[in-house]
Symmetry: C2
Subunit: 256 residues, 2 copies
DNA sequence: TAAATAGTGTCTCTTAGACATTATGGT
DNA sequence: ACCATAATGTCTAAGAGACACTATTTA
């Protein structure tokens, strides 16, 4: 019935995996200023960080950054360590995505891969850019990565899964904050949501998020020490009210 | 930078995991009829299936059913196979939950465990009950499993995670259907939701799910071949309209 | 006729959705 | 004066939430 029961504690008896790698889908949103006469909102694009492989297997292909798990750490720690090595940042949103274990997925042997996804603010990646060899580590748009690139292993599938996941999470949690500064305007927030979920359309977005009972707790107006409201005119002539996220995340339900 | 790059294809060079088990949290909802004079709704309880271990480690403790992954199958297949062995059913809701890799979690060695959860309709487990040794395989309420039982490995943590997950999914997807017959009354649906999420309270539940534009597509009234509406008086004097789930699952969002 | 569930009426206040309008400040 | 973004006004229809009320059977 239960094969756990029948398993010996003699660990050498059966074929065991050849490794447990952690692969990380590192997402960021890049901003590029529009070349207009007046101040305007930047273009934003959802990017994923890839590495060009130097060795067999899949030498020359692009792949997710990653590395092998060790006995002395959890796979989450493996992922965090790899992320640190790759981007130099420690305190970013890092979440487990899925396991990939299709037979033959890695020609090196029986590799059970654990995919994570990280959300990194563009500002952290800027320093890194310079120090790295531009040939080997690069940001691609998600569309590009999924449709135009030769990817190693089953990394296309992993990126596709991660993309689906981040799109869903964007609408159901407050991960938008990972892509925004501490204080932000509502246009910026709206733009970030749309960058990840292009289908997202909300007329009256400002009003809904600020003044409906059920969700106005998500964000709050930013004030300075003396209680004065803070404004930004970075993207517009008319200064826009700045907001910050609270810790509140509303529960969602299809029945309510 | 990328330790995948530095990994040899000589698979024997590093310490590798001693096994990749799949553990399954099998949930079901049991019904027990109330002993009242009149017809009434049954008590329902969310249960989890556990197995009493016979061997070291954790001999005598209760544990999740599970087994070791093989090189020739995905871990999802491992889980499905174990589920089949355990409950005798194949086509049930089975989903990946999380990976558990804390060092030392299994005294037998470096075991990276993959937890799944399955939602099984009570009717499938009924046959099994008889044929199994009641001492070794048993259904427990989730509360009991979490608070009163001595559990093997990190299975308490896994069950707690699975419980959180199923509660969230219950409100955001239509997994309620896994615990219901093909045709059901709205009281049954409401009761199933409340069994998994006790905090769930909706006055006007009937009206909301049947006649609000945005979510009435979730379920539809059940009709017979000639278009007559179907009713059930299993739980009440007054016959109740029967419904079925459609394939439609509304999108949820905290911003909409 | 009472028990137990099924389902509707009604009222108020809030929200959705669509669109028009006004506000601000720099070039 | 005009541009680009910020924000409010206004109107209608729909929905939320509370609670009282009616309906249907059968023991």
């Amino acid at each position: 019935m239960d094969s756990t029961e029948n398993q010996p504690y003699n660990v050498g008896k059966y074929r065991t995996p050849d490794g447990a790698p952690a692969d990380i889908v590192i997402f960021t949103i890049t901003r590029t200023e529009k070349q207009t006469a007046k101040k305007s909102l930047p273009y934003r694009e959802l990017m994923v960080l890839l590495i060009r492989r130097k060795r067999w297997p899949f030498a020359g292909s692009w792949a997710l950054p990653g590395g092998f798990g060790k006995e002395s750490e959890t796979l989450f720690e493996t992922a965090r360590r790899e992320l640190m090595e790759e981007t130099g940042v420690a305190d970013v949103h890092l979440d487990y995505l899925n396991v990939y274990s299709k037979p033959g997925r890695d020609p090196r042997g029986w590799m059970i891969s654990h995919a994570f996804f990280a959300l990194v603010n563009e500002k952290w990646l800027e320093k890194r850019k310079a120090q790295d060899d531009a040939e080997d580590v690069k940001l691609f748009t998600v569309t590009e990565a999924l449709n135009e690139l030769e990817l190693a292993f089953d990394h296309r599938e992993i990126i596709a899964d991660a993309y689906r996941n981040i799109q869903q999470q964007m609408l159901v949690t407050t991960i938008a904050k990972e892509f925004l500064p501490e204080l932000f305007t509502l246009s910026e927030l709206y733009q970030v949501i749309q960058t990840v979920v292009p289908e997202f359309k909300e007329t009256n977005f400002i009003r809904k998020i600020t003044s409906t009972q059920s969700r106005k707790g998500i964000i709050q107006v930013a004030c300075d020490a003396s209680g004065e409201k803070l404004y930004s005119n970075q993207y517009s002539q008319r200064p826009a009210q700045l907001y910050r996220f609270t810790d509140y995340v509303p529960d969602v339900s299809i029945y309510t």
